[in-house]
Symmetry: C2
Subunit: 154 residues, 2 copies
DNA sequence: GTCGTTCTTGCGAGGCTATGCAATAACAAC
DNA sequence: GTTGTTATTGCATAGCCTCGCAAGAACGAC
C-alpha cells in the first residue's frame, strides 16, 4: 500500500539501544514491546497503525490493538518512529526517520512518496517570508492522483 | 479551532440552486438532505463530519450518521463542500469553497490559513512534471508554527 | 391518484484509533 | 528470592467514518 523510502540504515542495528532508552526513562521492557520492536526492525519506510497490529498478530495472535498504539506513542516520543496522517486520514508511521520529510499520497490507490526539504524549498521559503510561518515538513501531506489513477470526475 | 476563510458570500442565497442541482443529476430532494443543507447554510468556514451530525441531531434527534456522511459525499461531488483531513486525521469540510485551496495549520495554537493555487504553483508544477502527479489542492495540509508559537522541542 | 423505477434511508456491522480502569507484571531494593 | 512500587497490559467502551443490504420514499409517467 505505501511505497517509497529506501531501506533504513542499519536495520536491526538501529534498534539496539531501544531497551536502554526505555529503561533510562523509567519505562519497562515487556514481551509485547519486544515483539513490536522486532516487527518494526524488519520494516522499512512507512507502516500504518493497523498494519503493525496485523503483523504483530501474525506472530502472536494474542496481540492487543491498544497496546500496539500505546507503544507507538512511546516510540514516537523516543524518536524511533514519527507519524502523520495519510490522505485518507489514517495514521502513517515512518520508521526510523532519517530526515524530516513530507508525504505525497495518491487518493486513488493509496500509494505514497516522500518529499524533501529541497523539493519544497520554494514554498517553504515563501511561507516563511510572507507569513513568518515555519513549516514542519513532517506534518505536510499532499494529496492528489498518481499517473495511474484518473480522478474519476470533476 | 479553525480560523480563516472569510464569511461565505451570500449565506443562504448560495444554496438556493441546490435542489435543482440535485434533480438535474437524477438525485432526490429528501427531508434529510434539506435539513443538512439548512445546517450547512448557517455554517461558514469549516466543519467536521461529526460536528455536522451533531448539529443536525440537535434539530432532528432522528438524524442518522451514515446519511449525513453520504450526503456530504454527494455535496462534494456537486461542489458545495470540499473536504480534507485535519492534523488529527479527522475530516474537515470546507463549506462553499470559493476556490479550491490548501490548508496551513499551526501545530501550536491550531490557527489555520488557506493557500491558493498561485501560492503552490511552483511545487505543483514540479510534481506534475517530475512524477506525473496531479495535486488535489484541497487535500493538501501544511503543518508548522505561526510566528507566535515556539516549536516546543525537537 | 396510481404505478414503477431507482435513488435513499435506516440499520447493522466493521475498521481504525483513543481512553478509563482494575489486574498484572517489571523492576529495584533488600 | 521476596516485597513494594509503579508502569503496563487486557478489556471494555466509545468516537469517527464506511459499507452492504433490504425496506422505503421520491419522482416521472400515465
Ligand atoms: Mn476522507
Ligand atoms: Mn495522530
Ligand atoms: Zn494512485
Ligand atoms: Zn500558532
Amino acid at each position: 500500500m505505501s511505497t517509497s523510502t529506501p531501506a533504513s540504515p542499519g536495520g536491526k542495528a538501529a534498534w539496539a539501544g531501544a531497551r536502554e532508552a526505555l529503561r533510562e526513562r523509567g519505562l519497562r521492557w515487556t514481551p509485547q514491546r519486544r515483539l513490536i520492536l522486532d516487527v518494526l526492525a524488519e520494516t522499512s519506510g512507512h507502516i500504518t497503525g493497523a498494519e503493525l497490529v496485523e503483523r504483530c498478530r501474525a506472530r502472536d495472535a494474542a496481540t492487543i490493538g491498544s497496546t500496539v498504539y500505546r507503544t507507538l506513542d512511546v516510540l514516537e516520543e523516543l524518536g524511533y518512529v514519527r507519524h502523520s496522517h495519510g490522505a485518507d486520514g489514517r495514521e502513517e508511521y515512518h520508521v526510523l526517520p532519517l530526515a524530516e520529510h513530507a508525504h505525497i499520497g495518491c487518493l486513488g490507490c493509496g500509494a505514497a512518496w516522500d518529499l524533501t526539504w529541497e523539493d519544497a524549498r520554494e514554498l517553504v521559503e515563501r511561507l516563511e517570508a510572507r507569513n513568518g510561518f515555519r513549516v514542519a515538513l513532517g506534518h505536510v501531506m499532499i494529496g492528489g492522483y498518481c499517473p495511474g489513477c484518473e480522478p474519476a470526475e470533476r
